[in-house]
């Protein structure tokens, strides 16, 4: 454990926790502007979380420890994940923290427990959401694996910190394949965070929900933690995408000024990406549920070709 990593372990998760709700609200605001409304305040999600923390938690009599445990597990898993993705600066790699495969498995763990939590309350909608989410996740997993493999192949390392140390600070991506990998990563971002065209996060109709249905029965503090975890997942995936395609300004040294610059630049870049996501969501309609696997297979095709090109040409 070197000092660089210790500092990173203090700063990065804190920054991620603080910044994550901001971007949820920003995306909502952009979608609202696209619809001709004013939308929520930028800090709305912070206020919502505060409100939820004060509310009482009600548990269904048929639920078990899973429902009580899931929110804490989710948030802790994602906090650990935030140690993997360098947002403020790139530290020296330390042991297995930063390994991309462990990252994928942690995300899978989080998704698994969310699905279990959805089943646990015993309501029909929760079960439906869990089954949908799991069956779709099975189809998107290969795409995720191959996209991250392509990323690892181009940047010549399996450790995210080493990968981004290679690209940090450069203005343009170092290889044209990274442009293609970014497109795959963007699709994965959309899928993992349950945004249009995969799933409408703002829907209130339970039969159209995939992700929201799983957390339908949660209330109060638990719900706050789950919402925070969701926002954190989104920020981390955005971070990977940003570091791949626009790594300008990311610092590799421990220097207060440079770290401040990185942080500010990241806030700006993430804001830009959030605007793009918002516009992208506003321009599409939700796809029908059983057309989604076809879309995922198209994404898989795309990432498979990318990695074939990279390996063979």
């Amino acid at each position: 454990m070197n000092t660089s990593f210790l500092l990173f372990a203090l700063l990065n998760p804190l920054f991620a926790l603080l910044a994550a709700p901001l971007y949820m609200a920003l995306i909502r605001k952009i979608k609202a502007y696209a619809q001709g409304r004013k939308g929520p305040r930028l800090f709305q999600v912070y206020y919502d979380l505060k409100k939820l923390m004060k509310k009482e938690t009600v548990y269904s009599p048929t639920s078990s420890w899973v429902m009580r445990f899931t929110p804490y597990l989710n948030l802790s898993t994602l906090l650990v994940c935030s140690l993997f993705v360098p947002l403020v600066f790139v530290p020296e790699p330390a042991g297995g923290l930063g390994n991309i495969i462990v990252f994928l498995y942690l995300l899978a763990l989080e998704r698994f427990f969310t699905a279990l939590g959805g089943l646990d309350a015993g309501s029909a909608f929760g079960g439906m959401g869990s089954s949908r989410s799991m069956s779709l996740a099975a189809v998107i997993e290969p795409t995720m694996v191959i996209s991250f493999a392509a990323l690892a192949f181009v940047l010549k390392s399996l450790n995210l910190h080493e990968m981004f140390a290679l690209t940090a600070g450069k203005i343009l991506p170092i290889s044209p394949t990274l442009v293609l990998v970014s497109i795959s990563l963007f699709i994965i971002l959309i899928v993992e965070t349950g945004r249009l065209p995969v799933d409408n996060p703002a829907t209130h109709l339970e039969l159209t929900m995939i992700n929201e249905a799983m957390i339908l029965e949660q209330a109060g503090k638990n719900l706050a933690l789950l919402e925070l975890a969701h926002a954190l997942k989104q920020l981390l995936l955005m971070g990977i995408l940003i570091n791949t395609i626009l790594p300008v300004g990311l610092s590799t040294e421990i220097d207060a000024g440079k770290i401040a610059v990185s942080t500010l630049l990241f806030l700006v870049k993430a804001g830009l990406l959030a605007v793009i996501i918002g516009l992208f969501e506003s321009s599409l309609a939700k796809m029908r549920l059983f057309r989604l696997p076809a879309f995922y297979v198209m994404a898989f095709f795309f990432s498979a070709i990318t990695i074939l090109i990279e390996v063979f040409a």
Binding site: M298, F300, F301, F302, I305, L308, I309, A313
Partner: protein
């Protein structure tokens, strides 16, 4: 003047999009999307040809690019969209043997197959890695086009699959060698396709009216139903 490695990087990206357009032709259900995918594919082909011209400097490549642009990006898509307007075909929902998802996975298999086949065959030839991959993509495109011809029922989609095969052969020829007769060959193939398309327009195949006619024929209301 322009750095060749940069151009090669761009060609790599174009390769991926060519394959994506082929994947779209295989998997999409909406006929105008198939046409758009084909137009994009031909446009990318013309772009690749012009980039190669910038690298190599052979005039034939530029001529090929211009000809491809004129006939396959402008003329043939215009003709097909006229047909689609006239006889009102909407969606091609009839996949004869393969649904889109398995066909996409099969296409990945075809790409790997072309790669192994060509690497076995091209041992003697000194081709740069990029050019070799161009040849692989050409062959894969041809195979994927053949997949479209055999797995779809509507004639227009089959015709577009055939045109995609032609694109594949063209790409293959671009990267492997320069052929003296390739322009004439292109013209002949386009001629064949135009004949087919005129037939479609004249007879009014593929339109939804045809489906009703076929249903009537099955019910033997029309003729005595003599099977030939």
């Amino acid at each position: 003047m322009i750095d060749p490695t940069f151009l090669e990087g761009i060609i790599k990206i174009l390769f991926v999009f060519v394959l994506i357009s082929a994947g779209l032709i295989i998997s999409t259900r909406n006929l105008s999307s198939v046409l758009t995918a084909y137009t994009i594919q031909s446009f990318l082909l013309a772009a690749v040809s012009s980039l190669l011209y910038m690298i190599d400097g052979k005039n034939q490549l530029l001529l090929l690019a211009v000809l491809t642009l004129a006939s396959k990006v402008i003329l043939i898509p215009y003709f097909i969209s006229r047909i689609e307007q006239k006889i009102k075909i909407g969606r091609d929902l009839h996949f004869a043997y393969l649904e889109p998802t398995p066909s996409l996975l099969l296409s990945i298999g075809l790409i790997i197959l072309s790669y192994t086949f060509l690497s076995g065959v091209f041992k003697g030839l000194p081709l740069s890695k990029l050019f070799f991959f161009g040849a692989v993509i050409g062959l894969s495109l041809t195979l994927m086009g053949m997949l479209v011809v055999f797995s779809r029922k509507r004639v227009i989609t089959k015709a577009l699959g055939y045109l995609s095969m032609e694109n594949g052969v063209l790409m293959f020829g671009l990267f492997v060698t320069e052929l003296p007769f390739i322009i004439e060959v292109l013209i002949i193939i386009d001629l064949i396709i135009l004949v087919i398309l005129t037939t479609i327009m004249a007879v009014g195949m593929d339109s939804s009216i045809e489906e009703y006619r076929q249903k009537f024929r099955k019910l033997q209301i029309w003729t005595g139903g003599e099977s030939q």
